[in-house]
Symmetry: C2
Subunit: 355 residues, 2 copies
């Protein structure tokens, strides 16, 4: 097969980790006889510096013409004092809208070799395998009005949580489809005892669930979910929720097994190329030192192989290689709580390629 991949390294360690993902994809291409064409685009802080905007139109067009997008990370203290429209994160929010990336998938997996890095006791996390499906283009993130107002002569402010029913339907449906291939359980998270949008969300989840008689649906309040992720993460299979709840809870979930540096994500488009990125940020404090962990970016590339290109075997090969490298004891600093010698970013990349 032949595939065009746009790489958006972004800021900080984004460049170093996407380099790892690209090299591993190249190795996969050679081994399985695929041609991956890589081209590069600009986003985030470096785009602000070069083009005066966090997401140039050329980048958008470039991505739309591709088969999949690989993103590093954006942001850094350099741009933290900019006005909102000139902040690196704006590039991220805009690309989600432009590419119609309606569903953010974040698996939380258990690695026995990394359990030592977890704040949780081993018996609480052993074999945890949960998948967050976060709605990514609606809710408080994009609702209007979002502005300062004056009411009764008083300074005030308003943000808006807005959803079309169809936006709920497509992401909840996806969650059920994914659960069908996993442990047949969907936990739909909302705040139906307070929010009208959550009451609609719950109705939609009930409706969709009728199309999936073999998948169990449970509703859970967001505050309860925040507790149960800590007290009993094993009880979850697929968790689906709206944008802001998903932002908070999926980050909480990502640290449970001690493998934040290993956490990959996929942002699926309804009608165009999807986007893959590690969950971690641009980590300006360690950028350029060749010590960042490239595994989350590499595992994001594996998600790309599986979800955008339908290459199951190839994806599995990458995941197996990562597991073997960990089992062999290789650790970058962030996951090296129990070892004395860390490997560098480039050493880690080479080890994965060699497996």
């Amino acid at each position: 097969m032949e595939k065009r991949i746009v790489v958006l390294p972004g800021d900080g360690i984004g460049k170093e980790v996407t380099k790892g993902a690209v090299e591993v994809l190249q190795a996969v291409g050679e081994r399985f006889g695929h041609q991956f064409h890589f081209t590069y685009g600009s986003i985030g802080g470096e785009a602000i510096d070069t083009y005066g905007t966090p997401l140039p139109d050329e980048t958008i067009q470039h991505c739309k013409d591709s088969d999949a997008v690989l993103l590093g990370a954006v942001g850094g203290p350099k741009w933290d004092t900019q006005p909102p429209h000139l902040r690196p994160e704006r590039g991220l929010l805009k690309i989600r809208k432009e590419l119609n990336l309606y569903a953010n998938l974040r698996p939380t997996s258990y690695y026995d070799s990394l359990a030592e890095n977890s704040p949780l006791k081993k018996e609480y996390i052993e074999n945890v395998d949960l998948l967050f499906v976060r709605e990514l283009t609606g809710g408080l993130y994009f609702g209007k009005p979002s502005e300062r107002v004056e009411r009764d002569g008083k300074e005030a402010v308003v943000d808006t949580l807005y959803y079309q029913k169809s936006e709920m339907e497509r992401v909840i449906k996806l969650a059920f489809e994914l659960a069908e291939k996993r442990d047949q359980k969907v936990t739909s998270v909302d705040k139906a005892n307070v929010l009208e949008s959550s009451r609609m969300w719950r109705e939609v989840a009930d409706e969709i669930s009728r199309q999936f008689p073999n998948v169990e649906l449970e509703h859970m309040l967001v505050d309860n979910a925040a507790m149960q992720l800590v007290t009993n993460p094993k009880r979850f299979d697929v968790i689906v929720t709206e944008n802001m709840f998903g932002d908070i809870l999926s980050d909480e979930a990502s640290v449970l097994t001690g493998s934040l540096g290993m956490s990959a994500s996929a942002s699926l488009s309804e009608d165009g190329p999807s986007l893959y990125e590690p969950i971690h940020g641009s980590a300006p404090d360690i950028a350029g030192q060749n010590i960042a962990n490239p595994l989350a970016a590499i595992l994001s590339a594996a998600m790309m192989l599986r979800l955008s290109f339908g290459m199951q075997e190839e994806a599995k090969a990458v995941e197996t290689a990562v597991n073997q490298v960990l089992d062999a004891g290789y650790r970058t600093k962030d996951i090296g709580r129990t070892v004395n010698n860390y490997v560098s970013t480039s050493e880690m990349i080479n080890e994965v390629k060699a497996m």
Copy 2:
């Protein structure tokens, strides 16, 4: 001193645990020479059953005429299928508005004797001592519109996150005042990279912090806070945030040290009696069995003594009694992971009174 306390037992185990708090307050009154007058009011599911509303006007007036309110818990499956305005939680939301309970205080404390019950490794939670200050009468909980809408011929829904600047000011100011008497550190949690309300929140926090030169202020994004509560809870002293973020994060915090059954809260009023309640719910599954843990309600009573009545010594006496009972090995079932013999609710109450 003479004080009028209104008790709202509510539903499920609410009755059993408030009974414990009342008996302990009576014992304190005898020992320290105070007169506490207890009267009872109706709220939640039992109010729906008796009066057809989750918060009768008599209850509101009754509370307004008191010096402090002690609440048990509300809710249960019996009322889960009711329309929104006939749900027990509505009583809770309404009493917050009616009594102007603008700030919800939730301490998370470490009990060495309970560390075994925690999902977290001991080294992560040892001596954790953090205090959540959650804004309680604004934001998404009360903003209008909150309704179904049709836009461009499509079914949709909207909720509104609305804040007056003055609502932010009073709760953030309180957080600084509390931090002054603790470890002089305030973490203000927001989502300033997305929400306009969060950008105002951040400005207000910066403004208020100038009045407290000896208190350190840090800003933290809500998703990062959800992670750091798990990975490094010891780094926090006072955490202040808006209503919905506070709901989610304070529940997450409440399970960290393994002592949810011990978690008390105070909801402070700007201009009238404040309200005290355990964090746990009405637990219908164990109601009436005399096995619920009364310590969260008892510790809520201690907060009442300190914060509403200025009775420092009396509050300390209750807290010390609770610690001694735990050190002596008494456990109700929920905190008894490491013991073989549980005590009942009433035995636990008697032990605290006897100390």
